[in-house]
Symmetry: C3
Subunit: 268 residues, 3 copies
């Protein structure tokens, strides 16, 4: 994995150098943390949600995030307008189908976004990805309580079906472009105790995808950077809230060299 570690370290360096603008249409729970994570990585966040300006803002961005965590019909409209503009201009779209499987609105919206837009990368937990890929899962709100039997196979199959890179994140992160399946082993248990860490992983993926056109590499790089920051943050903190503060500091302070040395990416 020496080659991919070099690639993802170079991507992190390019984020700091180019400061790409990332347009997030996201939920009201994670919106503030999402903006800060994007800034700390070295990119510039913009959180415009109104339908009147969504496409105009996307046109200036280097990546677009569509996150359905707190959905409304107005927000779906903005997502479609922004997504179509991104597709027209070749800007990568990253979808986070939070809670797909938990309600019909979330499942249907996710399916609609996958159908009507070209999506570059989809990140979700086993529940959301499993639901959308047709695998049998059991949800508890937006959490998956019984995962899919073979997440690597689900990631690969759904990646082929959606013509997208698919990331299933959780205790171990699995990423596939439909051919290769990679695992990212950097993580910490406290990520499960902090709200919105899945959304933050999605935001990190968008920042990497803005500067790395190999979206498998971009996704793996973002997840490794996020997981490595979590590992570093957990060392000196006594609970998930001080851990979260240290996680954001670690993202800001992470060097490409540190990422190249610390990323643990495996072939599955």
């Amino acid at each position: 994995m020496a080659k991919i570690n070099t690639q993802i370290a170079e991507a992190l360096a390019r984020i700091r150098e180019k400061q790409p603008l990332i347009h997030h249409i996201t939920n009201t729970v994670a919106i503030a943390d999402t903006a800060n994570l994007t800034l700390h990585l070295g990119a510039l966040p913009i959180m415009a949600t109104a339908a009147e300006e969504a496409a105009e803002m996307t046109a200036q961005a280097s990546a677009l995030v569509l996150n359905i965590g707190t959905l409304s019909s107005a927000l779906v409209q903005s997502m479609l307008l922004a997504g179509l503009k991104a597709n027209e201009l070749g800007i990568p779209v990253v979808l986070d189908p939070v809670g797909a499987g938990a309600t019909r609105l979330r499942t249907h919206t996710s399916v609609r976004l996958l159908d009507e837009l070209g999506i570059a990368i989809v990140r979700g937990n086993e529940g959301a990805i499993g639901t959308l890929s047709g695998a049998g899962v059991k949800m508890k709100g937006v959490e998956s309580v019984k995962g899919v039997a073979n997440p690597a196979a689900v990631a690969r199959t759904s990646a082929r079906s959606w013509k997208a890179v698919v990331a299933i994140t959780g205790k171990r992160d699995i990423v596939s472009d439909g051919k290769r399946v990679l695992g990212v082993e950097n993580t910490h248990v406290w990520l499960q105790a902090v709200s919105g860490t899945g959304c933050l992983a999605t935001a990190a993926i968008a920042a990497f995808a803005a500067v790395e056109s190999n979206f498998l590499v971009a996704t793996v790089g973002a997840l490794a950077a996020f997981g490595l920051a979590a590992e570093l943050a957990a060392e000196a903190t006594g609970g998930p809230s001080s851990f979260k503060v240290a996680l954001f500091d670690a993202i800001y302070n992470m060097t490409p060299e540190q990422l190249a040395a610390g990323a643990r990416v495996v072939s599955l």
Copy 2:
């Protein structure tokens, strides 16, 4: 109070064991902190607000929070749909009438929710509860600047009138089911310096009510756990912002034994 300390410690243990799903329809100021508090207590938060999915999400939950801190007519509609579903299924509804008394919209919405829904528990400050119970109060925005003359009597009377457990929180917390009136003495002055701590107390109440059907015990337990965490957090911090980080850590790290030993509940 030895018996109630045992009961509330057992309730905390049950939250960790059962991980109940708590559906919050809440304001955009406290929404992120509310999700984290719920997670740190051991429950699972879901923050779905759209009318299209509110009832469907509530049907999966073990408690429902209705918090009117940043109101809109769309949100009132979602609250009514979710509340009716909760009533139909016997899921406890916890109401936080933030700022009732400050504007007609907030007062009327609170009255409407109390009239049209079965509410299990109401938590507010003296201003909000005093307004809704007909006692004379003076508000400054959502804060009460001149409290009610006898909060214990107001709590008892409004609990009878609304057929609900009523908690009036502030420098000392007062809880009544219409018969007994209990006081919770765990608190810290910095809770007043952090935005949304009332909303967080309400969220804690919902997590306890999801696993403890005696709602007087559930409410007292949540307020004692929250206040005890505040006392522990204040010991090692130098201002309300580092205090808040430590408060969330303390919630996460609190053991049932710690709560049983530290809760200070008194009969009034």
Copy 3:
């Protein structure tokens, strides 16, 4: 600058004494931090956004903030209703035109608010103020990547044109009432790495304007207090997230004496 340091220290003391109510109609990214900053300064925040209650809440407040960071047509309506009520009652209105210049919606809304309302103070970065004043700027989302050639001249000219105090904040803060131009040199580079610090500066300005009718002094005082807190916070922290926690603690703990001694205000 001995006189202005005394004036701004006295303004801070008055905030703590009078606890003015500040009504914020603001964006969903900075809303929670805005409420906490207002509380820590010693004022009381209220974040009511619904058109049904906006004017009624403003009527109780001592200052009104209009921040267009996450805009919707419903929010613009609330801003106009609240602003007209504030004008009617002589309550100072502080405008933060986040991202003016980035999309037509933001530019047009800012122009409309400046046209239809009496605005006491406008705070923005070089991109937003430069756009609205007709100077040539280049935006990247809501950030200005190429500033105006002479920000002091832009601040003075736009202050005259809008009959308002104008603050252009960034690496150095520049404030003008159309006659004098003052610079505030208290700042720290990590403010650029934290989302919403511009919005927080605006919130601080509103708290000072609620108790100090010389809006040039109020604006300079708020920016000096915020910048000084940043300087103090940076001393003991290792990244922008722990810095932000310390910044909020420093705001809460700042004494008028500390502000009088530490504020660095210069004539330009």
